[in-house]
Amino acid sequence: MSILKQVISDLVGMFLKDARLTITILVLVAAVAFLIRDEGLTPLTGGWLLLGGSLALLVISVLRASGRD
């Protein structure tokens, strides 16, 4: 049973290494999807927004982790 628990915890941990980064990435993807589907944003513009947002969130996350933001 402990092996199963550890496997599940490791599987979850694969995608949730940093909870704040995970949540913000999910919010970013949801926002881009909303803008494309409901607000008439062109898919390609949405794609660039996704790329720029991911890069920005990465930088914010590491600066915060280094305690210097």
């Binding site: 496997v7 993807v29 990465l58 280094s66």
Partner: protein, 248 residues
Amino acid sequence: MDWSTAAPVVTAAFLASLVEVVEAFTIILAVATLRGWRPALAGTFSALGLLALIVIILGPLLDRVPLHLLQLVVGVLLLLFGLGWLRKAILRAAGVIALHDEEAIFRREQAQLSHEAQLAERSQDWIAGIAAFKAVLLEGLEVVFIVIAVGAGRGLLWPAAGGALAAVIVILSIGALIHRPLAKVPENTLKFGVGVMLSAFGVFWTGEGLGVAWPGADMMLVWFAAAFLATGLIAVALIRARGPEVDT
């Protein structure tokens, strides 16, 4: 098969698997040197058997998922997985957190096994075998995910699996020759590179899943990787310039 499309997939699967196999190999070697190769191999092959079963059961289900949905789900998971790796690699490269030390993990695993074996004198081989089983299963699941994630979106599962298999062969061959933990592998550099590639794939698949037709199609992966690499290196330089404190 178009190699300009397959090459990034095979390379990403190979490099990511290399990191995972090194980590599993360290534990297997710790088990083997402490209790012999029998429990180490028993645990290893049991885990490989279970992994094969998982792939055989789940593999055919992938064909039933609509392509756009598969790209979106896999893309988001890759983005989370890749950015997680990249974040950690940046923090390690900048000295904020300690580097992964295979020698230390090897010694810690041996100490842990010795302690557990003393508590249960009669089942030492069983405990050692379970340790190898867990290591191979956990690292193997990550390899399976990476192979599916980078390969499924373009129907390149077999080339991706080939990349992962090549990584297993490389590490086992080197390991068989030197019989020591592979401490010389530049693990953080590899993780940095893999984090860059998986994040690039993540943005690419998520975009395609949302209906984005990327200009230049698959070639855009190279530009995405360049963007993540440049951003990662700038982040390392920024943190180093400010003088981080090492957190072990």
